[in-house]
């Protein structure tokens, strides 16, 4: 899928090596203006190094980075129209919240009055107007995160880079911040480039996401597309649960919630793909139940079923039973054509 509008960030052939290790391996990437773009991948996949090269903390060995058509590949961080929200927030401990937010304006010699006003607006946006006089050490993790965000946004960068900004927060706060970040992004209209290893974060927030693996991008696209049509076994496993089986010389994957589990001899629908198997294990997870089914024709699939009416005791009784699984053929995503198959 091509991004709409002119690309704000254009990366081509970007490579970074550390000794013999290739951290980023000749990646190409176009990010549109105003887009919420996520770089998703496990640790060591090259996503953070890519972000740091866009920010200017690392200089690429090969390739170029263009910001709004201007080649910035070799400019120092202070000459690039981007700002970063750091994973550890990197707030200046000797300054107040207000001074932290004003820092970028201060070093760019914005006048005192304007500085105050803009910092005040930024703090208001992150709902911390009342905390301007505090030191970062007097704030909670979530508040520090907001200060870091305000400190970056106040400079009105072309692009905001976020390096796992929610990684240090607990689950509930993280989910709140996901919603808030997204609404702030819509409000300010700045391009966000967001690095995370959390697939849920990537799926819920992004306009598009790129999945990184071993220094390369394996797939780029809107979240629903990447989730439902993974192009490789790695993506099938990393974004969601790997549910790969091999049939008729093809390897393909089906998402667990797309599979219908039929018990008590219920008949499958016409045209559905049907597999018979034995329930090896059942996990009751509250709203849903996860079944691990060993298939008669080889392989194993996970099935996710909503607990619409069943209670925990009923679903747990399914262990050891014979069941049939059904799904519609269009839910299958082919990963590999094995020998005998053609392109």
């Amino acid at each position: 899928m091509a991004p709409e509008g002119a690309p704000d960030i254009s990366v081509s052939g970007l490579t970074k090596r550390y000794g013999d290790v290739v951290a980023v391996d000749a990646i190409d990437l176009d990010i549109a203006r105003g887009e919420f773009f996520t770089m998703l991948g496990p640790s060591g996949s090259g996503k953070t190094t890519t972000l740091r090269m866009i920010a200017g903390f690392e200089i690429p060995d090969e390739g170029t980075i263009e910001l709004a058509g201007e080649d910035v590949s070799r400019l120092p961080p202070y000459d690039r129209p981007v700002n970063t929200v750091f994973q550890d927030y990197a707030l200046f401990p000797h300054m107040t919240v207000q001074q932290n937010v004003e820092y970028g304006l201060m070093v760019r010699k914005v006048k005192r009055g304007e500085r105050r006003q803009r910092a005040g607006e930024a703090l208001e946006m992150v709902q911390l107007s009342a905390h301007g006089d505090r030191k970062p050490s007097q704030l909670s993790g979530g508040q520090r995160q907001r200060v870091a965000l305000a400190r970056a946004i106040v400079n009105r960068p072309k692009v905001l880079l976020l390096d796992e900004p929610l990684g240090a927060l607990d689950l509930k706060l993280r989910q709140e911040m996901q919603i808030e970040l997204k609404s702030i992004q819509r409000e300010v209209g700045i391009t966000f480039v967001y690095v995370t290893h959390d697939q849920e974060e990537a799926l819920t927030m992004s306009d598009r996401l790129a999945v990184f693996n071993q220094g390369r991008i394996e797939q780029v696209g809107p979240p629903a597309h990447v989730y439902e049509h993974p192009e490789s076994e790695f993506i099938a496993g990393f974004v969601g649960v790997s549910n790969v089986i091999e049939r008729d010389g093809r390897r393909y994957t089906v998402r667990p919630e797309k599979i219908n589990i039929l018990m008590n001899g219920r008949e499958p629908q016409a045209g559905a793909h049907v597999e018979l198997g034995l329930v090896r294990d059942v996990q009751y997870v509250g709203p849903v139940t996860r079944y691990h089914v060993t298939l008669d024709r080889g392989g194993e699939l996970q099935v996710l079923a909503q607990n619409l009416e069943e209670g925990s005791s009923e679903v747990l009784e399914a262990k050891g039973r014979r069941v049939s699984l059904e799904w519609r053929p269009e839910q299958e995503s082919i990963i590999d054509e094995l020998e005998g198959g053609s392109e």
């Binding site: 961080p77 202070y78 990197a90 200046f92 000797h94 970028g104 760019r108 970056a152 400079n155």
Partner: protein, 298 residues
């Protein structure tokens, strides 16, 4: 088959076990047992000697026999304040301590910065050893070595002689050099530790927000390293204030230490009173440092 674990029989009540049970149940007793020895040392030897010092500064001297008379008086302090010589010596010593501290801070900062933020781990370890090495050598050896270096026939004047210059090394300036050399490691190490504690991400954040190297240095690095510089300066300042050997070896000028050393025989109470001057000065210095919020981020 899995075997059901059987509860073990209660262990024998030996003396060691009873003792450890006692300490387990009485954490306060454990704490006091642990601290007894160091506390005794601190109270008796450390505070005791300070107390005796304070006490003897309040005693009187018999004007004829020069014997110490155990009679309380504030005359010793009065004498120190009123006598110009004592005032001059105190002022000269404080100035010396200040200049030594400034020189050490200026010399130590780049070295510490290089060690903490530039050097490879291997070079860093070598430099830490190099900084510590002078502390392994005896103080007297180093002081005498400097006396030789600075003297008329020393290496400095030997080098200056062909170009027609002469440096009076055995002077106040010479002493300043010696003190600066002697206490430099005490400044480098805390500043190094302080600089090493600054996370890289803070410097990246400063650059990211538009701060060039100089801005990052003055607005981020220096303020964050300031407490460490103050910590180092407490060493260099108080060590200079209290020293009496180097001044005696290098110059004929009098400093607090040398005066105390010289008058201790005939006027012990006055010497004791004079020795409180460095304590008062350092205390005042610490209060100012605290006022400057130097300890806030420690």
């Amino acid at each position: 088959m899995t075997s059901v674990p059987v509860a073990e029989p209660p262990p024998q009540e030996g003396l060691g076990r009873r003792l450890s049970t006692f300490f387990f149940r009485h954490p306060r007793a454990r704490l006091w047992t642990l601290l007894a020895l160091p506390l005794t040392w601190l109270v008796v030897v450390y505070f005791g000697s300070l107390f005796v010092l304070l006490l003897s500064s309040l005693w009187d001297t018999d004007p004829f026999t020069r014997q110490v008379v155990h009679k309380f008086t504030l005359e010793n302090f009065q004498r120190i304040i009123d006598t110009p010589v004592y005032r001059d010596v105190a002022w000269r010593t404080i100035k010396m301590a200040a200049f030594v501290t400034i020189a050490d801070a200026v010399l130590a900062f780049p070295i510490a910065y290089y060690m903490a933020r530039v050097a490879s781990p291997r070079t860093r370890n070598l430099l830490v050893i190099a900084v510590l090495m002078p502390l392994w050598a005896g103080y007297l050896v180093k002081a005498y070595a400097w006396r030789t270096i600075l003297s008329e026939g020393g290496v400095i004047n030997w080098a200056l002689d062909p170009i027609g210059l002469h440096f009076d090394g055995l002077s106040t300036v010479g002493l300043w050099l010696v003190f600066t050399y002697l206490w430099l490691p005490y400044m480098i190490l805390p500043v190094y530790a302080g600089l090493e504690r600054i996370p890289d991400s803070l410097l990246e954040a400063s650059a990211d927000l538009g701060g060039r190297s100089l801005k990052t240095f003055t607005r981020v690095i220096l303020p964050l390293a300031f407490p460490a510089i103050v910590a180092g300066s407490i060493f260099t300042f108080s060590l200079t204030l209290g020293d009496y050997i180097a001044p005696g070896l290098i110059t004929s000028e009098q400093f607090i230490g040398t005066v105390i050393y010289n008058i201790r025989g005939e006027a012990l109470p006055t010497a004791a009173a004079f020795s409180l001057v460095p304590i008062v000065v350092v205390t005042a210095y610490l209060l100012v440092a605290r006022k400057l919020r130097a300890f806030e981020s420690l």
